[in-house]
């Protein structure tokens, strides 16, 4: 339960599967979700790790999920992943508090570089939050 996990939210099964294979080869735990709803449904905010999020998804887009998580005061670091990233999109991602922004086809080294950093940031956030009495994390949505 306390093992950090990379949560991959992408509507494309081959992207989820290949990223999980990549993370598996660096001994990082991962889980895949086919939609933002599926992730929101299943995610327990107590679980540490980071989120790898596709922008263009039907139903709820990556940006909408980012906003929803912020509304729920869930601060898990988010690595935004997109197939056609432009500057406005990148700005929007960082404005929304994204940890990193990568373009598809993903530069694996860059992604693998960001993941341990994102996980470390999350661990640090959680340590700091734990010291604050009645932290927002205790408010379950």
């Amino acid at each position: 339960m306390n093992e950090p996990t990379v949560f991959i939210v992408d509507d494309d099964a081959s992207i989820r599967d290949s990223l999980r294979w990549l993370l598996d080869s660096v001994q990082v735990n991962s889980e895949g979700f086919a939609s933002a709803f599926e992730f929101l449904e299943a995610y327990d905010p107590l679980r540490p790790g980071c989120l790898v999020l596709d922008i263009r998804m039907p139903g709820m887009s990556g940006f909408e999920l980012q906003a929803e998580l912020e509304k729920r005061k869930i601060t898990i670091p988010i690595i935004i992943m997109t197939g056609h990233g432009d500057i406005p999109m990148c700005v929007r991602a960082f404005d929304g508090g994204a940890f990193a922004f990568v373009e598809k086809p993903v530069n694996q080294q860059a992604l693998l570089g960001y993941i341990p950093k994102a996980i470390a940031r999350d661990a640090e956030d959680r340590r700091r939050d734990a010291m604050v009495w009645r932290s927002p994390r205790d408010v379950r949505s």
């Binding site: 992207i15 290949s18 990549l22 598996d24 660096v26 056609h84 598809k104 693998l112």
Partner: protein
């Protein structure tokens, strides 16, 4: 001979020589038969044949006739002037000597098969003019009936359509050029979703590869893992290849062809091609394809172009519709010897004023549209011998319909 009433009549004099028992001619015995009626009929026939010939020779068309044995029995002055040959040379099968060797077989096939079926025909072929130049001739033949009302052969008329064909050819080329430019433009508009579609398998391949490299560096990778990951890489590469293949097919510069096409197959292919667009627009695409649809004649790429256009229009028309309601429906059916395709949306619909101008060039309700999509779709469908039109549905959405003639097996105008 003049009769007592003052009428001129024709008499036939039948005379017998009468001889005596010794064989000597004694006298002549004769009768006069009034053959006026017969004579008049003959004269009338000659006159009517003369009239016919004068009439036929005065026509701008080249006229020919054939008898029950399919052999030609008559060519008008225009024909003989055109070919520069004599009637004797042209009669029977002689005329076929002037037909271009590439056209002769088809020409004879149309003639003999129509003849056997006693059906009218119309065909185009090249015929050598007196100056040696081959000209395109439009030849229309109809069965003619003799005086007794029985089938008596064929009557045909020919027109030199070389100039018309040149103009048609130019128009056809321009239309194809325009359709090609429109396809490329559409592809340009679809770049974002195509790039996204291509990026998915490429990303996957890169991730599998990188993961495998990391594992191999750490130690030997067992063959089962290798096989597993390499087949996933292969599947992803194949997916990328399919996307490129589809794209190339649509933007390749080519002559439009005319072959039997399975309209349902084309609808399915285009639905796949636009799946991503529909998916991201949260639009449900519903195919209601009629089973056992006869094949239509035409060019599959141009047909796909019309379908892509109508599908994308429908998706766009629903951009302000509640996502739960967004539904694009494609129906195919056969209606009186035509394949009819309908693309229906539940979007904002079309006003009566728009319905009138919808298919005009440069007419658009979209901010970034050029207004060529429907105009080109119409030119494509009409060049296939079909029709395209739009209607409003009771629910307020729009419906676009187009028809294509069912492929005919017998003969066709080239």
């Amino acid at each position: 001979m003049r009769t007592a009433e003052g009428r001129n009549i024709w008499l036939r004099d039948i005379v017998r020589v009468v001889k005596d028992e010794l064989g000597r001619v004694t006298h002549l015995r004769g009768v006069f038969v009034d053959v006026t009626a017969q004579k008049q009929a003959e004269l009338a026939l000659r006159q009517s044949e003369e009239h016919f010939r004068q009439l036929v020779d005065s026509l701008p068309e080249m006229v020919w006739m054939s008898g029950l044995d399919k052999q030609c029995t008559f060519f008008s002055k225009q024909w003989l002037d055109f070919t520069g040959r004599t009637m004797e040379q042209e009669l029977g099968d002689g005329w076929a000597e002037g037909v271009h060797s590439d056209d002769l077989e088809r020409c004879l096939h149309v003639y003999t098969s129509s003849f056997d079926a006693r059906a009218a025909f119309s065909m185009e072929f090249r015929l050598r003019r007196s100056d040696g130049e081959f000209r395109w001739i439009d030849d229309t033949g109809i069965p003619w009936l003799g005086a007794d009302g029985e089938f008596a052969g064929y009557l045909g008329s020919c027109v030199d359509v070389t100039e018309r064909r040149l103009v048609e050819e130019q128009v056809r080329k321009q239309r194809q050029e325009l359709a090609f430019v429109a396809r490329v433009t559409t592809m340009g508009e679809m770049t974002a979703s195509l790039a996204h579609e291509l990026n998915q398998p490429l990303s996957a391949i890169a991730s599998y590869g990188e993961g495998l490299k990391i594992r191999a560096k750490a130690g030997p990778v067992d063959s089962e893992t290798l096989i597993d990951v390499m087949s996933k890489v292969g599947a992803s590469a194949e997916r990328a290849g399919e996307i490129i293949h589809r794209l190339r097919k649509l933007i390749r510069k080519r002559e439009a062809s005319s072959e039997p096409i399975d309209v349902n197959e084309q609808i399915q292919e285009v639905a796949q091609f636009t799946e991503r667009d529909a998916y991201h627009a949260e639009t449900e695409v519903d195919l209601n394809l009629s089973l056992g649809l006869p094949k239509a004649t035409g060019d599959s790429i141009e047909l796909q172009q019309v379908l892509v256009n109508l599908i994308r229009n429908g998706i766009e028309a629903m951009s302000t519709t509640d996502p739960k309601q967004r539904k694009l429906r494609i129906d195919s059916q056969v209606v009186s010897n035509e394949v009819c395709v309908t693309v229906s949306d539940v979007g904002t619909g079309i006003s009566a004023d728009e319905l009138q101008r919808l298919f005009d060039a440069f007419y658009t309700t979209k901010e970034d549209g050029l207004g060529m999509g429907l105009a080109i779709s119409r030119s494509i469908i009409e060049s296939h011998g079909g029709r395209i039109w739009a209607t409003s549905t009771e629910q307020g959405g729009a419906q676009f319909h187009f028809t294509l003639p069912v492929a005919r097996g017998v003969y066709s105008r080239e």
